[in-house]
């Protein structure tokens, strides 16, 4: 690890914030009791879990009892979808989602298809947006669940979640039974308001390591009364909704991280937006044949996603890596699947262009100097790769 690492991959993961780690530390080797045990030593751990639940509930604007601590965003998404689907199947077996969801949602939908559920994968526009009217049209009297993410992890597009919620509510009355609405807010936490009532959602997923909390921890909100079958059976933890000895330090860290994130929402967003815009303008003015992916305005404050024509995204990443810059790509070659990003494909980005994508996601600790360093080295990297490319007989660089 270069000491001078410039970390621009905050959508992939973030460092645990010092204050968060500090809050977690006592629960590893000191206050290590099992929260389910009754003696006072263990009740300290129990209380830490309760207090953490209260903190998270405050940020989400929900009751503590509506929260389930999970092992991450993927578990939250899997549990939300299966939990509702298996509980509500007496009303129907139709699920609606979008074609730009995270694989944790999409692959769970595919899992459910094998159990006889039908899934509609809604299209998006060129900016990656879902149209609430498309949701409305897709709802049938068999529909039991809609899952639309709050913000996209690749291109940063923010979905009109509360508008979709309204549409669902109206339709749900017409068809005569509830349609649960889940949102994957994994990329939204720390960046957007995630008050569940304002969003109008029945289920909501979070992943702690996306907001300076620990990896392997997440939250699932399930509105009281929503149909739900627990997906991890065993002990009585989490109100019988998720068995297993609680990850006490992880829970404590999650709550502290979310509290900090919620408290600094505005200032962080402003900081990130400044850096991001500097990045976008700098790149667009210095490099030709580049496209900004995602929505021009309705996007996460920290997300910049480009497609560079004639080159492959991973090779740009690698070039940046050798300069000590950490970035990501929706390109085929960074994923085990080789397929180009399903998100860019759904947005209608041509395959060749999709292959040249680069995602830069800034965070609270990034500086203008770091952005300027990226602007200094990136043009040369792209130019060099384009010189190698058979697609640029003589592209105007």
């Amino acid at each position: 690890m270069a000491k001078s690492l410039i970390y621009l991959d905050h959508a992939a993961t973030t460092a645990v914030a010092p204050r968060v780690l500090e809050a977690m530390l006592p629960y590893f080797s000191q206050v290590y009791g099992n929260p389910s045990s009754i003696y006072s030593f263990a009740q300290e751990a129990h209380k830490a879990v309760d207090d953490s639940r209260d903190k998270v509930a405050k940020v989400l604007g929900c009751r503590p009892a509506e929260l389930i601590f999970t092992s991450g965003g993927s578990e939250s998404d899997n549990t939300a979808l299966k939990g509702v689907a298996f509980a509500a199947s007496q009303w129907g077996k139709h699920i609606i989602t979008s074609s730009v969801e995270h694989h944790a949602v999409l692959h769970t939908c595919q899992y459910l298809e094998k159990f006889g559920f039908e899934v509609t994968y809604l299209p998006v526009d060129r900016y990656g947006m879902v149209d609430p009217q498309e949701v409305e049209k897709a709802i049938t009297d068999q529909t039991i669940l809609v899952s639309i993410m709050l913000a996209n992890n690749e291109v940063g597009t923010v979905q009109p979640v509360s508008d979709i919620a309204k549409v669902i509510k109206v339709k749900s009355k017409q068809i005569g039974h509830g349609v649960s609405f889940h949102t994957d807010a994994v990329q939204g936490a720390g960046a957007l308001d995630i008050n569940v009532d304002k969003l109008g959602v029945d289920l909501l997923s979070l992943s702690s390591h996306k907001f300076y909390g620990p990896k392997g921890m997440g939250v699932l909100y399930v509105r009281r009364g929503a149909p739900f079958v627990p997906q991890q059976a065993g002990g009585a933890q989490e109100r019988y909704r998720r068995a297993g000895t609680e990850n006490v330090p992880g829970i404590v860290g999650t709550a502290v991280a979310l509290e900090i994130a919620a408290g600094q929402l505005e200032s962080n967003a402003a900081h990130c937006r400044t850096l991001r815009d500097r990045l976008i303008e700098g790149i667009q003015s210095r490099i030709s044949h580049v496209h900004l992916n995602g929505h021009p305005t309705r996007r996460l404050a920290n997300n910049a996603n480009f497609s560079f024509e004639f080159v492959e995204g991973e090779s740009i990443l690698l070039g940046l890596d050798f300069e000590g810059i950490a970035a990501s790509s929706g390109s085929a070659c960074t994923s085990a699947s080789l397929e180009p990003s399903h998100v860019l494909m759904a947005m209608g980005v041509p395959t060749d262009t999709a292959h040249g994508s680069l995602r830069l996601t800034v965070g609270v600790d990034n500086t203008e100097a770091e952005i300027d360093r990226v602007l200094e080295v990136l043009p040369g990297i792209v130019e060099r790769l384009r010189a190698l490319s058979p697609m640029t007989s003589s592209p105007s660089r």
Partner: protein, 148 residues
């Protein structure tokens, strides 16, 4: 081939709602104190009424003894096999009964006992229910004896 999971698996399933011990950050100081130093423990050889009750599920067993004079409870004692809450509830019950008219004693509810204890964790409320039970049974026993 995989049938619908049968009904009762959803949120409404009794198990989910009744057994949550969210509030159960264990016992109040009052419970602790009564458990450590229970009041009026022991058999009462000359009791005027005895009430026995037990919870068939958790197995807690209480026996309440009362001594009555002029339609008033002048003494109460207990024997209990049960958890901390059950012992504390028994102890508290004997305190509450002492000096009460039979009428007032009959009006004591499990909530009164739980409240007097500074509250009980959700999963322990059945202990105060047991306390209410032995009060009723002891009073019944007294009335039966005094009728005969």
């Amino acid at each position: 081939m995989f049938p619908l999971p049968s009904a009762g698996q959803g949120e409404g399933e009794g198990v989910t709602s009744t057994l949550y011990h969210e509030e159960n950050s264990m016992y109040s100081d009052i419970v602790t104190e009564h458990f450590k130093n229970p009041h009026n423990a022991g058999e009462m050889a000359d009791a005027d009424g005895v009430g026995d009750d037990s919870n068939p599920v958790c197995g807690d067993t209480m026996r309440l003894f009362i001594k009555v004079s002029d339609d008033r409870i002048v003494k109460a004692s207990f024997l209990t096999r049960g958890c901390g809450a059950a012992i504390a509830a028994s102890s508290m019950t004997t305190d509450m009964l002492r000096g009460l008219s039979l009428q007032d004693a009959a009006r004591i509810t499990n909530k009164d006992v739980a409240n007097a204890l500074g509250g009980l964790p959700g999963s322990k409320l059945h202990c105060s229910v047991l306390a209410e039970g032995v009060i009723r049974k002891a009073l019944e026993d007294y009335h039966k004896r005094s009728q005969s």
